[in-house]
């Protein structure tokens, strides 16, 4: 259960990013389509409303024109503009000069259109054949009650929202479908590692304890060398085992944080790794200030230091050097190895990312370092130059 949890988290991290990116793009496209659809729908609704109102306004304009005609004929006797409380109107001459108006805002009239809404009023323009009183354009205006507008927006939001939700659900399902093979592969890999790990512990410990028990003084030089090689191999396996156990079990085991004497710990781990370094003729140089303390789980601190040291050995050249410096608040592990590009640095913390596949390993070392650093708010700074080596700073 715990193992599957641990792997699930590791999948879900990368998965979530893919998911977010995909859904982001998907939602953007879906939104684009919805906006397009909504725009068309809105325009249609507006046109529909205007068409309905147009019939009414045409009636009004006819009535008004009749009034204008009478006024035109009997202008020497009557001069009262035909008015109706149902609508407001205005007349303009052929040069668009306003002759008379009862409109609320006669300035904004668009004589080149037929019917339109300003949002507040609906205006209908009728072009006369006979210019009674010199009027070529008759403008009839009624209030826009905005009911259609509210209704249209309600529909857009309601159906648009429902559609968007549908799109997103479909997108989510699609992503899960696409990611299924990847998940499967990762789960297989994780399970394989987990199973392997379980089988490693006993034999490795058996080898290591038995090597320790061998009395090398009574052996000839050749055999001592061979035994040393066996010890190096066993320690390497042991280190890998520790990493894997951490990965698989770290969610299950609660951290036992306490003040850890880092000076002591770092020195101890260097001593442990010296023998591994010897196989590549790597010299350790240390500058460890005594009494440096850090509030951390000791096992995790050991994993952190181990992984930095093991990488420094793994990616070092033959006969290279490793410099370890410890100061309050900072640990530096510097190697004289192959180094890496700036672009590669940001990827080093990814699980199963192996910078140099010619060197052994699973690519989990720096992933563990990153996990521990995150848990204890340690800041990790990697500076690297190709062919010159890398410097890893851990600061707290």
């Amino acid at each position: 259960m715990s193992a599957s949890n641990a792997t699930a988290t590791s999948i879900s991290h990368s998965e979530r990013r893919t998911l977010q990116r995909f859904l982001g793009l998907y939602a953007f496209l879906a939104l684009l389509i919805l906006i397009l659809g909504s725009t068309i729908y809105y325009k249609l609704q507006k046109d529909l409303m205007l068409q309905t109102k147009r019939l009414e306004l045409e009636e009004y304009s006819k009535e008004l024109i009749d009034g204008l005609k009478l006024l035109h004929i009997y202008f020497d006797r009557y001069r009262t503009y035909p008015r109706n409380p149902l609508y407001r109107s205005a007349i303009y001459d052929a040069d668009s000069v306003r002759i008379f108006s009862t409109l609320d805002d006669p300035e904004g009239v668009q004589l080149d259109k037929v019917i339109y809404t300003t949002g507040r009023v609906i205006q209908y323009i009728h072009v006369l054949d006979s210019y009674y009183l010199g009027a070529k354009y008759v403008v009839v205006e009624i209030d826009d009650d905005r009911k259609w507008f509210v209704q249209t927006w309600k529909n857009i939001l309601l159906y648009g929202g429902a559609l968007l939700a549908l799109f997103l659900t479909a997108g989510l399902v699609l992503v899960r479908l696409f990611l299924a093979p990847m998940r499967h592969a990762i789960r297989l890999l994780d399970r394989f590692i987990k199973d392997t790990t379980h089988e490693l512990n006993t034999p490795v410990n058996a080898i290591l304890t038995n090597i320790e028990m061998i009395d090398t003084e009574h052996l000839d030089e050749k055999t001592t060398k061979k035994i040393k090689r066996i010890e190096i191999g066993a320690r390497t396996i042991s280190n890998i085992y520790q990493d894997l156990t951490y990965l698989i079990l770290h969610h299950k085991i609660a951290s036992q944080n306490r003040e850890v004497d880092m000076s002591h710990l770092v020195q101890e781990r260097i001593d442990y790794f010296k023998i591994l370094g010897e196989s590549k003729k790597i010299e350790f140089e240390t500058d460890i200030q005594p009494g440096v303390k850090l509030y951390i789980d000791e096992g995790k601190a050991a994993r952190l230091v181990d992984n930095l040291l093991s990488n420094a050995i793994k990616y070092n050249r033959r006969g290279g050097e490793i410099f370890v410096r410890l100061r309050p608040g900072e640990l530096l592990v510097q190697d004289t190895g192959i180094g890496m590009d700036q672009s590669a640095i940001k990827d080093v913390f990814k699980r199963y990312k192996r910078f140099d596949t010619s060197v052994g390993g699973f690519g989990i070392g720096l992933n563990i370092v990153a996990m521990i650093a995150k848990e204890y708010n340690l800041h990790i700074d990697i500076r690297s130059k190709k062919e010159k080596g890398s410097e890893v700073y851990v600061r707290w």
Partner: protein
């Protein structure tokens, strides 16, 4: 002393402005009067003899040409070269009284007469 000097200067400027204004107003009035005279003598005098009043013609022009600019242009065109085709009067009227004679006024005088005609019968500002 200095203050009163400045005040007299200001007063002087006012008087000058007022004089110029009055002169401008006067000349405008003068022009309008001249237009009115031309209109009275050359248009009204003759049209008075017709059974159809001048305002009826005006409203016919309005009905056909709509705006001030277009009415004035049409009037000018017709008065300079009257033809039956251009005439807005009814056929019976033309048959009975004949087509209007070509104007003998100069372009400026004609324009002033038409302006007066427009001002007399225009609907702008008269609708209530």
């Amino acid at each position: 002393m200095v203050g009163s000097g400045r005040r007299s200067l200001v007063v002087g400027r006012w008087i000058r402005a007022l004089t110029v204004g009055a002169l401008l107003l006067g000349s405008a009035q003068l022009l309008a009067d001249r237009g009115k005279n031309i209109y009275e003598r050359n248009c009204v005098a003759c049209h008075r003899k017709l059974p159809v009043a001048l305002d009826k013609f005006f409203f016919n022009y309005l009905l056909k040409y709509s705006s001030e600019r277009r009415v004035k242009e049409a009037l000018q065109r017709f008065l300079k070269h009257p033809t039956k085709k251009k005439a807005l009067a009814s056929e019976e009227l033309i048959n009975q009284y004949g087509l209007m004679p070509k104007t003998e006024l100069s372009d400026t005088e004609l324009r002033r007469a038409i302006d007066t005609y427009w001002e007399t019968y225009k609907v702008f500002g008269k609708i209530k």
